[in-house]
Subunit: 276 residues, 2 copies
């Protein structure tokens, strides 16, 4: 691992690292916030960003370090896809680099590199555990495409994450344009395979004996609410399953990082409660 | 004025506006944070950014809106210079567009447009007062070149600002490379004229009956500390004049927005106390 940047931040350290990913077959960059060391190793909270982002959007704009420092939580911000000249891409913003949808692609030209699910769920946590002093407790959260990633990864791994939360997540990608375009490209035309990566479908099949608490914030002035997000679909499944979901609709807020920054403290305190 | 962007943020509004500046002879963009309206009009706190920045660096990275919302303060973030194809520029990052040093240039090719002192001190406050509901109280703060701007503008206008603060300011531009390069270009070779824009010189001549409180934060891992910043020079003048200065040296912090974000709350509470 190569340290690219390091900054003192809220009495902790904000770092940026590059490493070679065996899973993604390319160099990857991630950011990490390390609070001041305490007597016990801190838990880890993984953040998954949305379309077009890299590891720096959340790191610079969300204001999460202040609360993570207070609560003693390590924040890990991975990139949103494999990157580089040797990695397939697409000219549209919602497919290819910056738009992995956090799944394991089965179709070409994507299948060799686009295995972000394995990277986020296995390779990156192992790397973090090998290189930093952390506890075994982890939670996960994200925004938009990253909210889809956080929810679907948590639901596919019962017992692995203590809690999951999302800002304006794509909860039902099999039914909305962003998800349909990506799933068709990455997973092929068989829609039956898509359901393994759709949080509404995963929640419907989930074993409630392993239920973990879910927090979702959604701005009602979000330009993508009606066509791409529809958190009410997820809330309806949660209601049917008696799954512990808190869905908050925030009046006047849009899809931007101003929305995320406004409620990031609530999400960190929610996770801290379940990581304790 | 044309509204370019508007986002709900911490129960207030983050807006971005464009207007034609008569003083700078070009269109200018500024950002403003408006907290939720209260029974009395809020005071205004002006932020001046550093070299290469525009109105968005502080707006997106400092995390100031959270505290401004709580305290009921309007934040105004202007650009760092006149802009556009018709405005003179220089290929180096520390001269021309993005590098005004918040003074009134007297030399060509700069003198026709580079009057940021008049813009920040007169034209912009009048525009804000005409278009938003605000009180008559104002304070000013900034970073690096913008810290120089905030200190020099406050010192040149006794009674106008309630308080002034700065992160890693250029306090003695007549003696450091950034300031010498800029002042030579904007003000000419006569170093006697430079002293009107140097905070150490201004403080030396200041009437202490109009003293306003000053807060300065400086990271001791700041790469520019020794060559460009030297806040101890300003502290020594303040000591001689018995001027109310608090200079805090923050161990391990650098020149970045991670440093600013870490201490922005202290600065906002400092100003709120003196704007009350």
């Amino acid at each position: 691992m190569e340290l690219l940047e390091e900054h003192r931040c809220f009495e902790g350290w904000q770092q940026r690292w590059r490493h070679d990913s065996a899973v993604l077959k390319c160099p990857m960059t991630f950011s990490i916030f390390l609070p001041t060391p305490r007597t016990t190793p801190p838990p880890v909270l993984y953040w998954l960003s949305g379309l077009t982002c890299n590891d720096e959007n959340f790191t610079t704009k969300a204001g999460a370090q202040r609360v993570a420092s207070e609560l003693g939580i390590v924040l890990v911000m991975p990139d949103t896809s494999p990157r580089g000249e040797n990695v397939p891409n697409n000219e549209s913003y919602d497919l290819g680099q910056g738009a992995s949808f956090y799944l394991n692609a089965t179709e070409q030209p994507w299948a060799d590199h686009f295995r972000m699910y394995d990277y986020i769920n296995d390779e990156l946590p192992a790397l973090i555990a090998d290189n930093f002093s952390i506890s075994e407790k982890a939670s996960i959260f994200g925004h938009s495409m990253g909210g889809h990633g956080a929810l679907s990864i948590a639901l596919k791994n019962p017992g692995r994450y203590c809690s999951v939360s999302a800002f304006a997540p794509i909860v039902n990608p099999t039914r909305v344009p962003w998800g349909q375009k990506a799933f068709n490209a990455y997973l092929g035309a068989d829609e039956g395979k898509w359901r393994e990566w759709d949080s509404c479908c995963l929640l419907m099949q989930a074993d409630t004996t392993h239920a973990i608490p879910v927090l979702i914030d959604q701005g009602d002035a979000d330009q993508f609410l009606a066509d791409q997000l529809q958190p009410a679909q997820f809330a309806e499944v949660a209601r049917q399953k008696s799954w512990p979901l808190t869905l908050r609709v925030q009046p006047g807020y849009d899809h931007s990082y101003y929305f995320i920054a406004s409620f990031i403290e609530d999400h960190l305190r929610f996770h801290a409660e379940h990581l304790a």
